[in-house]
């Protein structure tokens, strides 16, 4: 029997970005909050100080800061008729672990989704007609709009000190920013980061081709910043050890550098680390959560009763927690019924490496930050007419090269042998003069009936719980999108002066070993209809109203941007609904 702990007002599962935001907001409301985190406490002096964090082998290749698959992994297959097998070592995405979650090791690209992304189904149907969409595509509107979220995007950007150039201030298009973005109520809190040579060259080539390049909005700060909570950050030093790494400089926005120093000092907050929640407990009616059961590293099982449960783990673990807790109806792809696990999506990433004359170009690729870069948005979302192209969706593209770490960044022109003297001299001659954007084309991934999450029938985790099964493949729509965008991107890299291009299109089948991004989405989606969504527009469970589910698991489909901005804005939006509405009258905020 688990040992029972004293009741709390709120229990938070997972202390990453959204858990920290909710903990801060709800402790401000005077509630007694406990956060339970599977991984360890993490901070710069202990785990990623500037005297040894710049270690590509340890942090990038051997995954120092990530969850170990032995703790929890997923099974994977492309098609429903295949047998799913376990992902034994991470590949196409990297689940976080520990306090700060993905906020520790993200690049800190801090985008907003386009206004049309939130009303996608309605928007595309109105513009192109329902018949333009593939039959098995299951995209939906979010149930919340850009205008609803604008103040909350703003709150997150000012929390982080985000560095950028506004493209649309209260409806006025601004020179140098992204003209396609939704209107912002005020400029970014800090100016855009400085751009290295190749990033600047990309912007010049893009401008000459008629595009409107803009600096990527960055949570690696261009200057020192004190946020509204009084927490101070230092300027980014362009070290080139950002994503996969923690920041030793307190220059990358993370829960550690923006919220936790204040949160931990509040008398009505506590966190337990190295403690994994096994399931959310519900009462006999099945309509009320009573708290959670977790196990600590000593193997001791505890029950934490609480009036309000915030599920704020990584996307996939949110869905797994709901399935293991038997909350909501599991999705059945054959019957096309049920909600938990449906509309699972990822991203459609590709890139083009450009090789330049090393006598004329020296890019010093090691000078960079996680969210450095010059981008264009002409081919994102529905910013262009899809009519002639026969697909929907898109993405931003740009020279967003984050590093020159040599194990992974030593590129050689296509056709070079993989080893031997020819490889060695090509590595030597091209390292400083190659443009290697990484996630250069950052495309959307829309939802489909046969891309989903459920529980695996065979494989178990270390507690004997079934692993979650991913069934995912690229559909023609996304592959067409990617071919179109990659070709457009290649034109710009060519215009920069590259003598050789290596176009790396995204091709099917979806490959679990090939890193794309960690932007997995969906599975516990938000919406307006309980038969096709797990949570309402305030991220409140339709089935268990004292449970709110944060994170990108709420996205009905993925847009062509990095998800953290919208994820954080939705967290602030949900927190406002809890503070302003739910606590006054606990119960469903939307009656379906």
């Amino acid at each position: 029997m688990p040992q029972k702990l004293p009741r709390k007002d709120v229990v938070i599962i997972g202390l990453g970005w959204t858990g920290s935001i909710l903990a801060h907001e709800l402790t401000d409301e005077g509630l007694d909050v406990i956060a339970i985190e599977r991984g360890p406490w993490r901070d710069a002096p202990t785990e990623f100080p500037p005297n040894y964090v710049q270690d590509e082998l340890r942090y990038r290749i051997r995954h120092e800061l990530f969850l170990r698959p032995e703790q929890n992994t997923f099974t994977f297959r492309n098609k429903m008729n295949q047998t799913a097998l376990p992902i034994r070592d991470w590949g196409s995405f990297m689940p976080p672990n520990g306090v700060g979650g993905g906020g520790v090791h993200w690049n800190a690209e801090t985008f907003r989704f386009l206004p049309s992304d939130f009303v996608l189904k309605t928007h595309l149907t109105e513009r192109y007609g329902a018949a333009f969409l593939p039959e098995d595509m299951t995209i939906q509107d979010f149930g919340v709009t850009y205008d609803d979220l604008e103040p909350h995007y703003d709150a997150f950007e000012y929390l982080c000190g985000t560095s950028g150039t506004a493209g649309n201030l209260r409806g006025q298009i601004q020179e140098g920013g992204n003209p396609f973005e939704g209107p912002r109520s005020r400029p970014y809190p800090t100016p855009a980061q400085k751009q290295p040579f190749s990033h600047t060259l990309f912007a010049k080539a893009a401008r000459e081709l008629g595009y409107k390049p803009f600096p990527q909005p960055s949570g690696n700060l261009s200057q020192a910043y004190t946020n509204p909570l009084g927490v101070r950050m230092g300027p980014c030093t362009y070290c080139g050890f950002c994503e996969w790494f923690g920041c030793g400089n307190y220059s990358k926005a993370s829960p550690q550098t923006t919220i936790l120093p204040l949160l931990v000092r509040k008398s009505n907050f506590a966190a337990r680390d190295n403690s994994e929640v096994l399931h959310i407990n519900v009462d006999r009616s099945g309509k009320r959560a009573t708290g959670v059961t977790f196990v600590d590293t000593g193997g001791v099982e505890w029950e934490q009763p609480a009036d309000l449960v915030i599920l704020s783990a990584y996307t996939l673990f949110n869905v797994q927690m709901l399935l293991n807790s038997k909350i909501g109806t599991p999705y059945d792809a054959v019957a096309n019924k049920g909600v938990i696990g449906r509309n699972f999506t990822h991203q459609t990433i590709s890139t083009v490496n450009g090789f330049f004359d090393n006598k004329k170009f020296n890019f010093n690729p090691f000078i960079a930050s996680g969210s450095i870069g010059m981008c264009i948005d002409e081919f994102n979302g529905d910013n262009f007419d899809h009519g002639p192209h026969g697909f929907v969706g898109g993405g931003y593209m740009g020279q967003v090269q984050t590093n020159g770490r040599p194990i992974q960044s030593t590129s050689v022109p296509p056709g070079t042998p993989k080893w031997g003297a020819a490889w060695k001299s090509a590595a030597r001659d091209n390292y400083l003069s190659t443009v290697r954007p990484g996630t250069g084309v950052h495309g959307s991934f829309y939802s489909y009936r046969d891309v989903y999450l459920d529980l695996d029938p065979t494989y178990k985790d270390r507690f004997g719980r079934p692993l979650m099964r991913m069934t995912i493949d690229f559909h023609d729509n996304e592959l067409k999108q990617n071919a179109f965008l990659t070709d457009k991107f290649a034109e710009i890299i060519h215009a920069m002066g590259a003598h050789t291009l290596d176009k790396q299109y995204r091709k099917g089948p979806y490959d679990s070993t090939d890193y794309q991004t960690t932007h997995l989405n969906g599975g516990a989606i938000m919406g307006t209809d309980p038969s096709t969504s797990a949570i309402n527009r305030y991220l409140q469970s339709w089935d268990v109203p004292n449970l709110f589910v944060m994170g990108a698991s709420a996205f009905p489909q993925n847009a062509g941007y990095n998800p953290t901005g919208p994820v954080a804005a939705l967290a602030f939006w949900a927190a406002a609904a809890i503070r302003g509405q739910y606590l006054k009258n606990p119960g469903p905020l939307v009656h379906a």
Partner: protein
């Protein structure tokens, strides 16, 4: 859901073993912090092989020198320490696939499903290096791989890469791809791990190493960064000459 006691105990045993270094704590009131709590990397020391037998070590040094051949400016894979790097990696968590999901059943899958092998890299090297030497001894009058001429080695490796030559009982193409990856990783990793001795690989490509501040350089476009590389252990010329 409830978890059966046996399942739970079995799970707990794994959990305790795998996370011994971290204990559950309650954080409240102030940021947790302890002096000297860091976990800096442990430098590889030169010396005898930790994992390889002497024949295996010779074979891997020979492979490293064909994957990265020496040239007048830059040493090859052997003298830059890639075999030492691989030896120490195989003797450690990497060799055992520590932290990976290693639960059965092990079933063959598609390429997209990733490795489903029960064996870690250490066991793969042991079997494959033996198969490579066996093949060479039967094909080249009793010579082991390390004793072939450079031309013979290159021809054989090319044929293994192209699957024209099969090694008995192992997947030669996958093994050679693994060796290429490990040799090149050791060549470009920090010298603290035993390869990239004297930062030769970083000097070769122009990478300044474990630096942490380019604020003064970010907008100096198209200029060669002038400072020499530095590793996590510093640089030889930082130590006073005896």
């Amino acid at each position: 859901m409830t978890i059966g006691r046996r399942e739970f105990l079995a799970g707990t045993a794994i959990l305790v073993l795998s996370t011994m270094k971290s204990r559950a704590t309650i954080i409240s009131g102030e940021l947790p912090w302890a002096p000297n709590a860091g976990t800096p990397p442990i430098p590889v020391r030169p010396g005898p092989w930790h994992y390889f037998t002497s024949d295996e070590g010779r074979a891997v040094e020979a492979l490293a020198d064909r994957i990265i051949p020496p040239d007048p400016q830059t040493p090859g894979g052997k003298d830059s320490g890639s075999a030492v790097f691989i030896d120490r990696q195989l003797a450690g968590p990497y060799g055992r696939s520590e932290g990976h999901y290693n639960q059965p059943p092990f079933m063959p899958g598609t390429r997209q499903q990733g490795s489903q092998s029960e064996k870690g890299p250490a066991a793969v090297y042991r079997e494959a290096l033996a198969a490579l030497d066996r093949y060479c001894q039967s094909t080249y009058q009793g010579k082991r791989f390390a004793d072939l001429s450079d031309q013979q080695k290159d021809e054989l490796l090319k044929n293994i890469e192209d699957e024209k030559t099969k090694l008995e009982g192992i997947d030669g193409k996958s093994f050679f791809a693994l060796v290429i990856k490990d040799v090149q990783t050791g060549f470009f990793a920090d010298p603290i791990y035993g390869g990239n001795v004297d930062m030769v690989a970083w000097k070769m490509i122009g990478y300044p190493g474990a630096r942490y501040n380019y604020l003064d350089w970010v907008d100096r476009h198209n200029e060669r960064f002038p400072l020499p590389p530095v590793s996590l252990m510093g640089r030889a010329d930082w130590s006073p000459k005896p």
